[in-house]
């Protein structure tokens, strides 16, 4: 595996990028796991449990890469950090809500994930591209699952439409926080590591907006494609350690066993 950095200056920013990727997956994976035993239908219960394991597995992939660059183990990163040291976006921290919110969040997240991973395919940091290629095989099925549910629930009945629209109203401003600029991001753009969050946001909007409209859901956005303007506030801060109050509870839960017996052999 070629771990040589594309430029010396980009090291700090690259580590930020890896942590943002890992923490998004870890925290959303944990939220998805909260449906185990509670989803509205058995099949979705199993599907969400399955996706939760996949997301946490992806987090481990990024944290293993992080370990190769820093020596800090995935266990230490997952179980010894304080909430303010996490770099996930606030979007993934919010409680799972009702099934409509979960489905809308999963769709918006999975699409962003796909756009992000595809942008890594020709990264100057080769291992990023190799990893993306591997993860995309699984992520594209997550997206198929989530988009399938959004498509079917968007305009199925009056109630499903009302609840899905309410979920879009809540989730959309939060989801924009996925594209918050990372510290040192310009270094990564200059070094050809990835095109930057602004470019990813525009690629994401280009797909998310027409898809939601097609299924009778209205995102808070004016116009389309290049001339598309976001009309809502952006709920960001997570990439800089400004998290929601919900993250602490999630991390307390996740780290409970580890704190009782630090350094376990799982």
């Amino acid at each position: 595996m070629n771990l040589s950095l594309p430029s010396h200056n980009s090291r700090g920013a690259l580590l930020n990028l890896l942590l943002a990727l890992a923490d998004d997956e870890l925290v959303l994976g944990h939220r998805d796991s909260e449906w185990t035993g509670h989803a509205p239908i058995l099949e979705e219960d199993i599907a969400f449990s399955n996706i939760a394991q996949d997301e946490i597995g992806h987090s481990l992939v990024w944290l293993t890469l992080y370990e190769q660059l820093t020596g800090r183990t995935p266990d230490a990163m997952g179980f010894e950090r304080k909430p303010e040291e996490f770099m996930c976006c606030r979007f993934v921290e919010y409680p799972k809500g009702d099934f409509a919110y979960t489905v809308v969040r999963q769709y918006l997240f999975d699409l962003a994930e796909k756009v992000r991973l595809e942008s890594f395919l020709d990264s100057s940091f080769e291992v990023l591209g190799e990893t993306a290629q591997k993860l995309l095989r699984e992520e594209s099925y997550h997206l198929l699952h989530a988009s399938g549910l959004v498509e079917r629930l968007g305009d199925a009945t009056e109630e499903s439409h009302r609840r899905m629209q309410a979920a879009v109203d809540v989730a959309f401003p939060q989801s924009l926080g996925m594209f918050e600029e990372l510290e040192g991001e310009q270094e990564l753009i200059d070094a050809g590591v990835f095109p930057g969050n602004k470019a990813l946001l525009s690629g994401w909007l280009k797909q998310a907006v027409p898809f939601l409209r097609k299924v009778s859901l209205t995102p808070p956005v004016k116009g389309e494609n290049e001339s598309c303007t976001v009309l809502c506030p952006v709920d960001d801060g997570g990439r800089n350690g400004r998290h929601t109050e919900h993250l602490k509870g999630l991390i307390d839960d996740m780290q409970k066993v580890y704190r009782l017996a630090p350094g376990p052999n799982w």
Binding site: I41, L42, E43, E44, I46, A47, N50, Y141, L144, H145, G148, L149, R152, T157
Partner: protein, 93 residues
């Protein structure tokens, strides 16, 4: 309005050339979602190269009440393959 999803019967193939075997059923709103949900239920642990789903209602079945359908009223032991060993596997490794 009935909001219960229909059931689909799921058939799983572990390798190309093997027969698809019946593994169970899933609830789904349509065949495409049924395939996706079947993937999560049945292809998660088992190795899988192909899945089939069939709407349960599309299967025409015999009636358990109709015993006569399968009745053997005279001795038909001559039909049983007793004189040779049938291989367990029709598709050897």
């Amino acid at each position: 309005m009935d909001t219960q999803w229909e059931t689909y019967e799921v058939f799983h193939q572990s390798r190309r050339g093997e027969p698809h075997s019946y593994v169970g059923s899933v609830h789904a709103p349509d065949p495409h979602m049924a395939l996706q949900l079947a993937r999560d239920q049945f292809a998660r642990r088992l190795q899988c190269v192909s899945l089939w789903v069939v709407r349960s209602g599309d299967i025409t079945a015999t009636d358990y009440q109709d015993d006569d359908f399968f009745a053997r009223v005279t001795d038909k032991s001559y039909r049983d393959p007793k004189a040779f060993d049938a291989p367990d596997k029709l598709h050897p490794e």
